[in-house]
Structures are given as structure tokens and as C-alpha cells.
């Protein structure tokens, strides 16, 4: 598996690999995600879209345990949604990016209405580059 030098991801991977219960599903989805990154244009991946006004949020989607995989697959097609993990109890951890807070809220609303999704909740929200209009 190619390492893209993202030390955060490798640190997470290492930590999670020691947590047996979580690691199975997470392993699967890390491979899944890394595959997508591998398929991306190398220039895109660097993500040197520096600062600007794109807020970032960390969210937790709750799904019924049996729907989580399906939901995660659907999410892979969403731009601005990056899955960081799927847990055996049906929770999905993701990072959202959008152009505006408006966009983030619209995205969360869309996710909320997806089949298989019970709820979408916010864990973290940062918009320090965002100017008040």
C-alpha cells in the first residue's frame, strides 16, 4: 500500500490497528479511501488549497449497523465528504469541506435524508479563514 506521507493518517492507522474491534472495519475503509486517493490526480491530492474560505467540519453519521457499509459506499461519491472510518456499531466518521457554511449545512441536510442514515451530528467545526460577509 502506497504511503502518501500523510503522517496523520499513518498515526491513526497505527493506533487503530491495536484496537481489535475497530480495526477490521476501519482497515477495510482505509484501504477503500486510500484507493480513491491513489486514483486521484497527484496534483489534486496535495490539497494545497491553502486557507481561503472553505470551512471544515468533523461529523459522525449514525446508521443501523447493517446499513453502514452501504451508506459509506454512497458517500464515496459525494464531493466534499471524506470518510475516515466506519465502526462495527454503524457509526461513520467523516470530514466535510464546502465553500461556505451554507454549503456545509446543505450537505449535512442532504446526508441526513439519505436512506440508511439515522442521524448526522457535528463533532468539530472550523472556519477561521472565513470572513463575515
Amino acid at each position: 500500500m502506497r504511503q502518501y506521507g500523510n503522517s496523520y493518517m499513518s498515526a491513526v492507522w497505527q493506533q487503530l490497528a491495536t484496537q481489535h474491534d475497530a480495526c477490521v472495519a476501519l482497515k477495510h475503509y482505509y484501504i477503500f479511501m486510500l484507493y480513491h486517493i491513489a486514483m486521484a490526480d497527484v496534483g489534486d491530492f496535495n490539497m494545497c488549497i491553502d486557507g481561503g474560505s472553505m470551512p471544515v467540519s468533523g461529523i459522525v453519521l449514525t446508521c443501523a449497523a447493517s446499513s453502514a457499509e452501504y451508506v459509506a459506499q454512497q458517500l464515496s461519491g459525494f464531493s466534499g465528504v471524506e470518510i475516515h472510518g466506519v465502526l462495527p456499531d454503524g457509526k461513520i466518521v467523516a470530514v466535510l469541506e464546502a465553500d461556505t457554511v451554507d454549503g456545509e449545512v446543505a450537505l449535512v441536510t442532504e446526508l441526513q435524508d439519505m436512506a440508511g442514515v439515522v442521524s448526522v451530528q457535528l463533532a468539530y467545526h472550523n472556519f477561521e479563514d472565513f470572513d463575515a460577509e
Binding site: N6, S7, A11, V12, V60, D102, H125, N126, A132
Partner: protein, 772 residues
């Protein structure tokens, strides 16, 4: 490859989300780097009564990031979508930053001295010419404890009037009256832990998924982990809550009053009650009936001790015989068979039964009675005061409990469950306030509906509104707005943005909000939470406590507030705390709240919190061997009330054939002055719509998004139709939300209110619906 700041932030975002699901992630330097320059502090959320804790990140004097607080037992690291607006909300473009005084049709900038001098002179003039009852203060369940306490002391102990009211009159008053006349003490006996520990949850007219989202997700977590957990949604409308429920039971508006009586009938008929529990803990009572609906100005209706008749259990059972399941079906719309089933659910000894309710029950012209009947279900079956098994009255605002109810900022109240009509209560209050007991009036002041009607009649000369938006949120709005427009009273409004109320003011004062000031809130489960100031308020805006104290000084009541500026918030809290000691609502010292994610009162001698009241297992006021003891009720016996069915104030007829119901949705909060003020969020949910049942829409020739005219006897409005969206009313019903300031739907609402709680019924009146 180099990592950008964005990468670091994304790492933090993921880490926070992992923390919220209990997966701890080793934090490499990247996450530390993301946090560089950010100072974190805790605060309860500014929005609903759930009381989630939020970690607020400040950089360069501005809030730049928020996190669900992982250390909070309430939300455990998660926030709902309104969390996106928490920090943006303070930085909208048209934030009020200077005092403004009306000069003709213009609002002109003024200094604080000018504004406060003017307000004081108007109040003094009114008091001199018409007495202290010609002035009023109208506050909020979003006031901090310090703000509410200052307001109460000023009005009742300084100016000498009980004309102090709050917007919680419009949301929780029925719940309060239900607590007081059943248990002798306000506020729940259980807590949020019951959502994790129970197995049966019956929702009565409560769309928890949208109104109490984080609490609902705790419930759903329980359900997903334990497949035997059952969620029953009894409602007049299908919602996101319905989607997660095991069973949806549709009901006619006002049908709860009938259904509950019918369920109790079955419990009695089939002897499903707990006789030992009843004998030990329950008194049966019959109150005053044939109650009015508050539609006439100055209509008086009270249930005094003289109006209350004790009943024997046998007499009570005889009275309940009329409420057969067949009768219940006719009146409530719930099938007789279903009523029988619900009686069996409520008395099921193998399950832990919880009832949950909020505005569907409280904003009801017989809301107090419905609260009483819900308690009766739990009291007759003995299913109460146990971990995982309790009735839970949900609260709408962040501090309707902590401030308005606990501090007692109502026309009839004093702190800590005390009332103005009781001489001993006035004496105790006066002693702590350091005023003559004769200062506090024994006469109950004007309740909210009467306060605003009194402006129209020219009897109320001055009103100061803080932290709420009555000229959008009151029912039968047109009458009250017209009175304000005619300048019948001198109106002061303290707020953070221009609203439908500031536009009618003579003086507008800019307020500090949330983490721009230090404060304390109290949530639904008796959890008192404190926070420190984290950022400066913009421009000249000042916190409401400061505004009231400056006003007090000019009114000659400055000595009531001798607190040094540096320790003011702590000092006010500690003075208020004196009321609570030994009362069963004991609060902890201020410093304790600064350290933890809140504490649930009553606080025990060792400083720890109480999760379950009235039970020897957790409540220190109950001795070993006493089991359950309702020690706040007279004779330790709680009341099961006989409450008959009485119809709504206005029902559909030939001319106005539809039920009209109003409420909230997830993304916007109340009148949208905060969430709606931020352009991005306003665009996220574009505006109020009218929900119709698809068959009704078809018959009327209305398609999704078509303009629809809705007319009541009081007003008319055009809204776009929403068919097949997140909510579907039952046939013959329409539903809309009140967050949109361009659509004053409350013009249509009837100003009927519960005769005991004086809380208006926003959930039912009659309208006609046509394609516009």
C-alpha cells in the same frame, strides 16, 4: 510532502469525531499544530433546552472553531446542525452595536447615558402618575441566571411590581403548573440517564428528532444497541421522529386530553394499577371545571384551595367510568383497540416506561390538565422515580429551567418554587434581598398575554423587552403590533440583531451574547452549567445584567446591587444560591460549576449531584427505608387529578375547515433572530412553508411549492406548499414554522390560553386553505 494548515485542521476534525464515538486517536504533532494559537473554553450551547456542552475555540479575539464537548455527559462530543451556527451567529453583519433612540420614524444613535437616562425618566414618570403596576419587564428563557435574578430583585424588591414575565410563559408554564399541583415542586424527578436505561418511550406530540436532536440520538443509540427498546410516536403529524419510531399513532388535535382519560379508564377498569403505590403516595383531587379560554381581556380564572375537592379512590373511579375507549376513539381519533393496548403498555410490569412531551402538550388550552393526566399514568401504575422509568417534561430553551423557573421570573413567582401570594415566602425573599417585606407586592402581576393586551388598552405605559422577540412570537399578533405601532406604550428592546420587536421600539439597546459575557444556564435535567467570558462583545454592546443595574441606579435602587464588577457574576449567583439551601433544589458553590460540565441539583452534602429525586437510592432528603418519598408534596402525597374533557377554543367548521398547527424545525431556532440572521443559514432552509397532506393538496389543486393562502378569523398569509417533505400532517391539518420573519404566521394564531398556566395554544385553530 508538505502538510498545509488545512490538513492539520482536517486531522483535528476527524480526531474530534473519533473521540465522540469513543475511539481515542493518538494525537500526532499535526493536531497540536492545528490547535496552535487557539484557546479553548467550555460553554453550554446557546440554543435548546437539551443543554449540550460546547468547546469554543478562540483565536485573535474571535471564535474560530467549536467542538462538541467530549467531556459532557449530555452530548458526549456531539452537537446538532445548529452547532454550525453557534459561532457564526455572533458575527452577522447587522449586529447591534450602539444604543438607538427613536426620533420620529428614525432610530438615531445615542450614548448609553442618553438611552438609560431616557428610559429611567419614562419609567419614573409612569410610576409617579400611574403607580408601579403601570410598568413591566419582559425577559427570556435565554437569560442567564444572573440576568433573571437581577431582573426579579429589581422589579419585585426595588420598583415594587410583579409585572415581570418571560417568554417561558409561552412554552413551559403548563409544565410548571402541572409539576406544582401534582408534586408540590417544579422540575423532573428523572434525568437524561433514563433515556439510556429504559426500554419503552412514548412521545406525546413531540418531534424530538428536530426539536431535541442530541437527546433523540441518545434514545436512538439505546434502541440500536437494544433491539427490544420500543419507541411510540403519538402525534398529529408524521415527522423525522416518526421515521425512527416503532409505531406511529395519529391523533386529532386536542385528542390527548381524551385519549389519556380513556387509557386511565382502562387501567382502572381492568385493575392494572399498583394499589400499594396508590395507597402510600396518592391523593385524588377534583379541580375547577368549565374553564374559559382567556379570549376576553382581563378574564380571571384560578384554582384556589377552596376550588379543590378531595376524592376517595372509589369516587375517582366512578368519575372515570364515562371515558370508555369507544368514547376515546370518537374524540381523539385513536382506535379503541389502540387505547386498550396503550393501557397495557403503561402498566406492563416487565418494562420500563417513559413518557416524553413538550410543546404539543404545553401550548394547549388545557395543557395543565394534560400534564396532570400524563403524571396520573405513571402514578397509578407506580412507574416513576426509578432509573430508566420516569415521565420527562422536555424544555425548549437553554435556561427556561435554570433561570425563569428556578429563579422565578414570573408575575406570580419568587425564587425556588415560592410565590408572591404567600406571606412567609415574601418574608424569606425580602430577608435575602435586604428589603422591607412590604415592598414585594402580594398581588400577582400581569401574565404575558395580559401584559401585551394592557399596552393596547393604554394601561401599561412602559415595557422593557430583553432577549426575546414577542412581536413575532405572540398569538393574535396583529392586535399587539398595531398597539405598539400606535405608540401606546414606551417600548425598550435589548437584543443582538434587528428583529420584528426592535422595529417597534422607542429605544434599542445592543446586548452582549453567549460567550461575550460570563453566565449560568440550567437545562431540562436540572443540570446547572457555567461559562466564562471568552470574547469581547462588539462595539458598545453590554450584557443585560449591566443594563438592568445601570437602570436600577438611575431609579434609586442601586444599593440592591452592590456587587463589584470583577466578581459580579459569582456574587449574584451566590446570593441566589441562598434561596436553594435546604429546599431540595440545593445548588453548589459557584466555583464547583466552573470546574465541571454542570451538576444536577439537588446537590448533596458531599457536593455531588442527584440524578433521581424523591428516591432513597439517590436523593438525600429521603431516609433509608423510606423508598420513594414525595417530600415536597403536602403530607408527602402527590395528586392524581380528575380532569374532564373540554373542547379546544376553536375547531374547524364549514367556513374554516382545516386545523392550523405551528412549530419548529431542526435548522432554525424560534423566531430565527440568531440562526436566520446569518445569511448563509437563512438560505439553508429558505423560508417558512405550509405542509399539507398529499390528498388534501390534490383536492385543492395544490402542487409542491405552489403559493397557498391560509386564512383564519384573525389574519391571512401566503406560503409555498410543502408536500412530501420531512413532515406530513394528517388529513384536514396543515403545519408551518415560525422562524421566518417575513412570514408572521402568528397573525393567524388564536390567543386562547390555558386558564391555569396562561400559556397560549399555538397548536390549534381553524383556517381555510386555498391555492393563492
Amino acid at each position: 510532502m508538505e502538510l498545509t494548515r488545512r490538513d492539520f485542521i482536517k486531522a483535528s476534525a476527524a480526531a474530534a469525531a473519533f473521540a465522540a464515538v469513543g475511539v481515542s486517536v493518538l494525537r500526532p504533532e499535526e493536531i497540536e499544530a492545528a490547535e496552535a494559537g487557539i484557546t479553548w473554553g467550555k460553554a453550554p450551547c446557546r440554543f435548546c433546552g437539551v443543554g449540550c456542552s460546547v468547546l469554543v475555540g478562540v483565536k485573535g479575539g474571535k471564535i474560530v472553531t467549536t467542538k462538541g464537548d467530549p467531556a459532557s455527559p449530555v452530548n458526549k462530543g456531539l452537537n446538532c446542525i445548529k452547532g454550525y451556527s453557534l459561532s457564526k451567529v455572533l458575527y452577522g453583519k447587522d449586529r447591534l452595536t450602539t444604543p438607538l433612540i427613536r426620533k420620529g420614524n428614525e432610530m438615531v444613535e445615542a450614548s448609553w447615558d442618553e438611552a438609560l437616562d431616557l428610559i429611567a425618566s419614562k419609567y419614573q414618570k409612569a410610576i409617579a402618575e400611574h403607580g408601579p403596576d403601570s410598568v413591566a419587564l419582559y425577559g427570556s428563557g435565554q437569560w442567564t441566571v444572573q440576568e433573571g435574578y437581577t431582573a426579579s430583585k429589581l422589579m419585585k424588591g426595588g420598583i415594587g411590581t410583579n409585572n415581570l414575565e418571560v417568554n417561558a410563559r409561552l412554552c413551559m408554564a403548563s409544565a410548571v403548573a402541572g409539576f406544582m399541583n401534582t408534586f408540590g415542586s417544579d422540575e423532573p424527578m428523572g434525568c437524561y440517564d433514563d433515556l439510556d436505561l429504559g426500554d419503552t418511550y412514548i412521545l406525546w406530540g413531540a418531534n424530538m428528532a428536530e426539536a431535541h436532536p442530541v437527546l433523540f440520538s441518545r434514545l436512538i443509540d439505546n434502541k440500536l444497541k437494544h433491539p427490544t427498546v420500543r419507541l411510540i410516536d403519538i402525534a398529529t403529524r408524521r415527522t423525522r421522529t416518526t421515521k425512527m419510531a416503532d409505531e406511529y399513532i395519529p391523533m386529532y388535535p386536542h385528542g390527548d386530553l381524551a385519549a389519556l382519560n380513556a387509557i386511565i379508564h382502562v387501567i382502572l377498569r381492568d385493575k392494572l394499577y399498583d394499589e400499594a403505590f396508590i395507597t402510600r403516595h396518592v391523593s385524588f383531587k377534583r379541580g375547577k371545571e368549565n374553564a374559559p379560554y382567556g379570549l376576553k381581556d382581563k378574564e380571571v380564572f384560578n384554582e384556589t384551595p377552596a376550588d379543590v375537592k378531595p376524592l376517595t379512590f372509589a369516587e375517582y373511579q366512578a368519575l372515570m367510568q364515562q371515558f370508555t375507549p369507544q368514547w376515546g376513539e370518537k374524540v381523539s381519533g385513536i382506535a379503541a383497540q389502540k387505547i386498550e393496548e396503550l393501557a397495557r403498555v403503561y402498566s406492563d410490569k416487565t418494562r420500563k416506561i417513559n413518557s416524553l412531551w413538550t410543546m404539543g402538550v404545553n401550548q394547549h388550552s388545557r395543557g395543565v390538565w394534560v400534564n396532570n393526566l400524563l403524571y396520573s399514568l405513571h402514578l397509578l401504575t407506580g412507574k416513576i422515580c426509578r432509573p430508566g422509568e420516569n415521565p420527562l417534561s422536555l424544555t425548549g430553551q437553554p435556561s427556561a429551567c435554570g433561570t425563569t423557573r428556578e429563579v422565578g421570573t414570573f408575575a406570580h413567582r419568587l425564587p425556588c418554587d415560592m410565590v408572591v401570594t404567600n406571606e412567609a415566602h415574601r418574608k424569606k425573599t425580602a430577608a435575602i434581598w435586604g428589603v422591607d417585606p412590604g415592598k414585594i407586592p402580594a398581588k400577582v402581576g400581569l401574565h404575558t398575554m395580559e401584559m401585551f393586551r394592557a399596552i393596547d388598552r393604554g394601561e401599561l405605559k412602559c415595557i422593557w423587552i430583553q432577549c426575546t422577540n414577542p412581536f413575532q412570537s405572540l398569538p393574535n399578533l396583529t392586535r399587539l403590533r398595531k398597539a405598539a405601532e400606535a405608540r401606546k406604550a414606551f417600548i425598550v428592546v435589548s437584543d443582538i440583531y434587528p428583529t420584528k420587536s426592535t422595529e417597534l421600539a422607542d429605544v434599542i439597546l445592543p446586548s452582549a451574547s453567549w460567550v461575550e459575557k460570563e453566565g449560568v444556564f440550567g437545562n431540562t435535567e436540572r443540570r446547572t452549567q457555567q461559562w466564562f467570558k471568552m470574547v469581547e462583545a462588539p462595539g458598545q454592546s453590554r450584557e443585560d445584567t449591566w443594563q438592568l443595574i445601570e437602570f436600577a441606579k438611575r431609579m434609586g435602587h442601586g444599593k440592591l446591587f452592590p456587587y463589584p464588577e470583577k466578581t459580579m457574576h459569582r456574587d449574584i449567583f451566590e446570593e441566589y444560591r441562598k434561596f436553594t439551601i435546604g429546599s431540595g433544589k440545593d445548588l453548589a458553590p459557584y466555583e464547583a460549576y466552573a470546574k465541571v460540565r454542570g451538576l444536577r441539583w439537588p446537590i448533596k452534602a458531599d457536593g455531588t449531584e442527584t440524578r433521581w429525586r424523591y428516591t432513597e437510592a439517590d436523593d438525600e432528603h429521603v431516609q433509608k427505608g423510606e423508598g420513594i418519598k414525595f417530600y415536597k408534596a403536602p403530607g408527602n402525597k402527590v395528586n392524581v387529578w380528575f380532569r374532564p374533557y373540554e373542547p379546544p377554543a376553536e375547531s374547524p367548521d364549514q367556513e374554516y375547515p382545516f386545523w392550523f398547527c405551528t412549530g419548529r424545525l431542526l435548522e432554525h431556532w424560534h423566531t430565527g433572530t440568531m440562526t436566520g440572521r446569518v445569511p448563509e443559514l437563512r438560505r439553508a432552509v429558505s423560508g417558512a412553508t405550509i405542509e399539507l397532506h398529499p390528498e388534501d393538496a390534490k383536492l385543492l389543486g395544490i402542487g409542491n411549492r405552489d403559493p397557498v393562502r391560509i386564512t383564519s378569523r384573525r389574519g391571512s398569509i401566503v406560503l409555498p406548499a410543502e408536500i412530501g417533505g420531512r413532515g406530513t400532517p394528517e388529513k384536514g391539518n396543515v403545519f408551518t414554522t415560525f422562524f421566518d420573519e417575513t412570514k408572521l404566521i402568528n397573525d393567524l394564531c388564536i390567543d386562547a390560553f390555558d386558564p391555569l398556566s396562561k400559556e397560549p395554544d399555538f397548536k390549534k385553530c381553524a383556517v381555510k386553505v386555498q391555492k393563492a
